[in-house]
């Protein structure tokens, strides 16, 4: 059904409530945050109204530059790993019987119901020296003695990938299940081995979905706050952790606000990018 674009002010009525909620709980707090981010910190106190870009200038210090780069790189690596596991997984999932598909999807949804805290502590136990998986490998004589895998970069990655993987599959699943299986079969009858056909037919057709999934997981991982603290060392802390650190422990609200504004803007930028990508339809049409 095609609707007419709104003509009178009254036509906008249905979206008045959501718009009000969005203004009240997002635009207003964000505005306050933007305001605070240009305020001046009072040493030993709180902050006072001013207009200064000093808080933003601090991004340029090597320490915060490093944290920023680390956060972006971590989010990118988590997205890539999720896609590397998620794409073959989802493709194979859509080729099996309907009943098994449902079972797998329910299992993945169940992971979403776990709180981040539980995931964090479960992995910190699983990767610990005293009670972790390495003990099992010792039992299998694969390792000599148990090792502590946490805290560390690998542990942070494991936790984040574990948490983001269900989202990855849920975003990929609809597109893969709509993919006409005869495209793969056609490629095979034309001389492509199944692996090659997956590479030069399925992946190119799916490239928009892959990009959209990358962006969604990237934003998700960029906001990671709890897992880097539970599973990582201070050098593995992300921008979100620093925001908390500055706001609560260092009482530097203006600088914390500046970092938060930066995070929100970069997320919005990526969401905008993904909308732009998904709106370009009709491959090859001018």
């Amino acid at each position: 059904m095609r609707r007419n674009p709104p003509q009178k002010p009254a036509d906008y009525l249905p979206i008045a409530f959501p718009a009000a909620m969005l203004a009240l709980f997002f635009v207003v707090p964000f505005g306050i945050m933007v305001a605070i981010s240009v305020f001046k910190r009072v040493q030993g106190g709180f902050y006072e109204p001013a207009f200064t870009l000093d808080n933003y200038a601090r991004f340029l210090t090597p320490f915060f530059g490093e944290v920023l780069m680390f956060s972006l790189a971590l989010a990118a690596i988590v997205s890539v790993v999720c896609l590397l596991i998620g794409v073959p997984f989802t493709y194979l999932l859509t080729r099996i019987g309907r009943r098994y598909q449902v079972l797998w999807l329910i299992t993945l949804l169940a992971v979403l119901s776990l709180s981040e805290v539980i995931i964090g502590f479960a992995w910190s136990t699983l990767l610990s020296r005293t009670a972790g998986l390495s003990n099992f490998l010792v039992f299998l004589s694969i390792m000599d003695k148990p090792e502590a895998w946490t805290p560390g970069f690998g542990a942070v990655m494991t936790g984040l990938v574990y948490q983001a993987f269900p989202y990855t599959v849920l975003v990929l699943y609809p597109a893969f299940s709509r993919l006409d299986p005869s495209l793969m079969e056609a490629a095979r009858t034309l001389g492509s081995s199944p692996l090659r056909a997956f590479w030069n037919v399925v992946l190119p057709i799916m490239r928009k979905t892959l990009l959209a999934t990358f962006i969604i997981v990237f934003i998700f991982a960029l906001g990671a706050y709890l897992l880097p603290q539970i599973l990582g060392r201070p050098q593995h802390w992300t921008l979100s952790v620093l925001v908390t650190d500055q706001a609560i422990y260092q009482s530097n609200m203006p600088f914390a606000a500046a970092m938060a504004v930066f995070l929100v803007l970069s997320s919005l930028f990526l969401v905008g990018l993904s909308i732009l990508v998904s709106e370009k339809k009709g491959i090859g049409t001018p």
């Binding site: 005869s182 095979r188 009858t189 034309l190 001389g191 037919v201 490239r207 049409t285």
Partner: protein, 347 residues
């Protein structure tokens, strides 16, 4: 041994037998249609020939070599899918060049071959268009060109024309047949459209419930159907139960003189509507009442009740108005136009 040979091919999905012990021989250069109602196993059979499904039992051989275990991408065949399966991320030229690139042909060779193929399907110069810019008939031709790009040993088509409108379908049938004759390529088409099968192929294979009912030249299968199923599926047929009678066979409402039922006491006969002869006047071996008349343009379809049997006749239209509903006529079922089956053979 040349050509394609299927020996006792069976395909089971759990408890369901989709293809049930089919043996066939298809000569090189033949145009064969696999014809049957939906669910008869014809597509499954084609997919096994293509290597997209593994047979549960039996052997498939091409030019004397068993190809059961050869994966689809090594079989060197061209297949046109019902959905056409053109790659949406590639241009027309790239679609057709896909099998050539896979085989490592140079860019210049690919481009030259694509041009030849597009000329062959009468769509020159559309290399750079996207698949979304083509009409149904054009997409059809591109799919055919792509399947023939590497001069395959076998050309397989799964309901290739089902998405086209009636007029375009007729035109494509002629074109496909001419193309096949020019290239001399062994071609197997799956269709449920008996007109399509009859008009295109050298041989038709009529299938039902996973079995072959008859393999014959189209006109032979039409004139001498091997079973009541074939008689009914290919065109229209009157299937009538008859008993043995003195010098012929007896229907519920009359007789067919001179029709021999062989050793049978009871039989099922099949006669085509165009072979039924209607005579004026109610006297004769088989009197009947006209109950319905349908003008078809080139012919008139007349429904007649002869005793308990409903018989359909096709006649050329008479200028004077001809028959009227309710008229009493006499009909003649020429013995040489009747095909006799055992009466227990169900349709």
């Amino acid at each position: 041994m040349s050509g394609l040979q299927l020996v006792d091919i069976t395909k089971r999905y759990g408890a369901v037998t989709a293809v049930d012990g089919i043996s066939l021989e298809i000569e090189d250069g033949a145009f064969v249609c696999l014809l049957g109602p939906s669910g008869c196993g014809k597509t499954t059979l084609l997919r096994m020939i293509a290597g997209l499904e593994d047979p549960s039992a039996g052997d498939i051989s091409l030019q004397g070599a068993r190809i059961n275990d050869m994966p689809a991408h090594k079989r060197n065949l061209g297949m046109v899918f019902q959905s056409l399966a053109l790659f949406p991320h590639l241009t027309i030229g790239e679609n057709i060049a896909y099998p050539l690139k896979i085989r490592g042909n140079s860019r210049a060779d690919c481009e030259a071959r694509v041009r030849d193929l597009l000329d062959m399907v009468q769509l020159p110069g559309i290399e750079n268009r996207s698949t979304a810019q083509l009409s149904g008939g054009q997409r059809q031709r591109v799919a055919i060109a792509r399947a023939l790009a590497v001069s395959p040993q076998l050309f397989l088509l799964d309901e290739p024309l089902s998405a086209l409108d009636a007029k375009l379908r007729e035109a494509m049938q002629v074109e496909l047949r001419q193309l096949q004759q020019r290239l001399g390529i062994t071609t197997i088409v799956v269709t449920h459209d008996q007109r399509e099968a009859m008009s295109m192929s050298d041989k038709i294979v009529v299938m039902s419930n996973g079995k072959v009912e008859q393999m014959a030249a189209p006109i032979e299968a039409y004139k001498k159907p091997a079973s009541p199923f074939v008689a009914d599926f290919l065109g229209q047929a009157n299937l009538i139960r008859v008993q043995k009678a003195e010098s012929g066979a007896a229907l519920s409402g009359g007789r067919v003189p001179g029709l021999s039922l062989g050793p049978r006491n009871e039989a099922l006969i099949s006669i085509r509507p165009e072979d039924v002869v209607i005579k004026g006047g109610g006297e004769g071996p088989l009197p009947a009442d006209v109950v319905f008349i349908r003008e078809m343009g080139a012919t008139v379809e007349v429904h007649l009740d002869a005793g308990a049997d409903r018989i359909i006749a096709l006649a050329p239209p008479k200028r004077d108005g001809g028959l009227k509903v309710g008229a009493r006529v006499s009909i003649d079922l020429p013995a040489d136009a009747c095909v006799v089956f055992d009466s227990r053979e169900a349709v």
